[in-house]
Symmetry: C2
Subunit: 210 residues, 2 copies
């Protein structure tokens, strides 16, 4: 598997997986790239191109086996086994994420939590005790956790990132509205709530007929 697969191709894989799960739940066994494309409004060429990075799926003129493709995309995404996560920042967003039920379904487990606020350290959220942030390097190193969720204020994000990277974290899901400087081997995903609102705004405007 080559390392130079375009980022948006990767970002589309979870969408394919979600679409396949829905097809499966409605009893669909086989789907063409044209039908997948119609459901996701992506060209079938793009879909075939995306999947071709990972091997040969489907049969020309027949389509993809929904169940088999779903399992293969799950495996490509590394979501076929348990993955432990470090959560940093137990403000409102952090606590919402700690209690989010969808993670466990896909094999993600928030295994450790850190906060810089002494009044939060020692409290239990979603069954886990919040640890002080000055133990972060040691705990992350010791547990071998490589995936971290950043739910800290913007001004603290870079400092926390540096410590996480020092501890061995290689993938950061950043909710703080700030770009992070990381070594090349570390992947950052920026979560930006505005994208969702903008899409909805379009529909409102459109249906208003303006």
């Amino acid at each position: 598997m080559a390392g130079n697969i375009p980022r948006p191709t990767i970002e589309r894989l979870p969408l394919y997986l979600r679409c396949l799960a829905r097809l499966k739940s409605t009893g669909v066994d086989v789907v063409s790239s044209e039908e997948l494309g119609r459901l996701l409004a992506i060209t079938s060429v793009q879909i075939r191109k995306d999947l071709a990075y990972f091997g040969e799926f489907g049969r020309r003129g027949i389509g993809y086996d929904v169940d088999s493709l779903a399992r293969q995309v799950t495996s490509i995404l590394g979501a076929d086994h348990l993955q432990r996560i470090a959560l940093v920042g137990l403000g409102h967003l952090g606590q919402a994420l700690a209690n989010y039920e969808g993670f466990r379904e896909h094999g993600f487990n928030i295994a450790v939590m850190f906060d810089a606020d002494p009044s939060k350290v020692g409290l239990t959220v979603a069954g886990q005790r919040i640890l002080p942030i000055d133990r972060m390097v040691d705990v992350v190193k010791h547990t071998g956790i490589e995936l971290a969720v950043l739910a800290v204020p913007a001004h603290a994000a870079q400092r926390v990132t540096d410590v996480l990277v020092q501890g061995g974290v290689r993938a950061i899901w950043n909710f703080a509205p700030v770009r992070l400087n990381v070594p090349e081997h570390v992947e950052v995903r920026y979560e930006n709530f505005i994208v969702g609102l903008l899409a909805l705004s379009y529909y409102l405007k459109e249906n208003r007929g303006s």
Copy 2:
């Protein structure tokens, strides 16, 4: 502007806007669909097809004027004027959204907030008082708010949705992990945190070389 523009085309517009804003901030004045495609890893054909739904932008052989295209996409998205939002559910996620600073930048203003919990009603979050949920129909009708954010537990989401629709809401951004039944004129956007984690999971697996 036709009403049958594919949903993923709409979902890509905010990504185009974000990319254009970044180009602008780095001093780029003109961009080709090939370059935009490279940055977003979308085929240039897809980009031209997406934009063609809304008119003719750019010049063949030259490209798009970054500033002009950004303004036009902003206008297409209806993000060129103030939009008031109702927020329902002031648990951790709701409070995180209420305090999210990125909304105002794009003209979104959380104008009213509701919660079903009597112990929360009357409290102030991000400068707004939380109103009781039984006033929701009246307040939404009276203010003419058409856009609502749903940060309530899954079991309450459909009931709250019915009330919002009764009050005149036509676009719902749903963070509750449940499908909603709405009349055809109401648009729902489902926010699913798992997509972000799955993409990161891929990078971890990939860089591990497994």
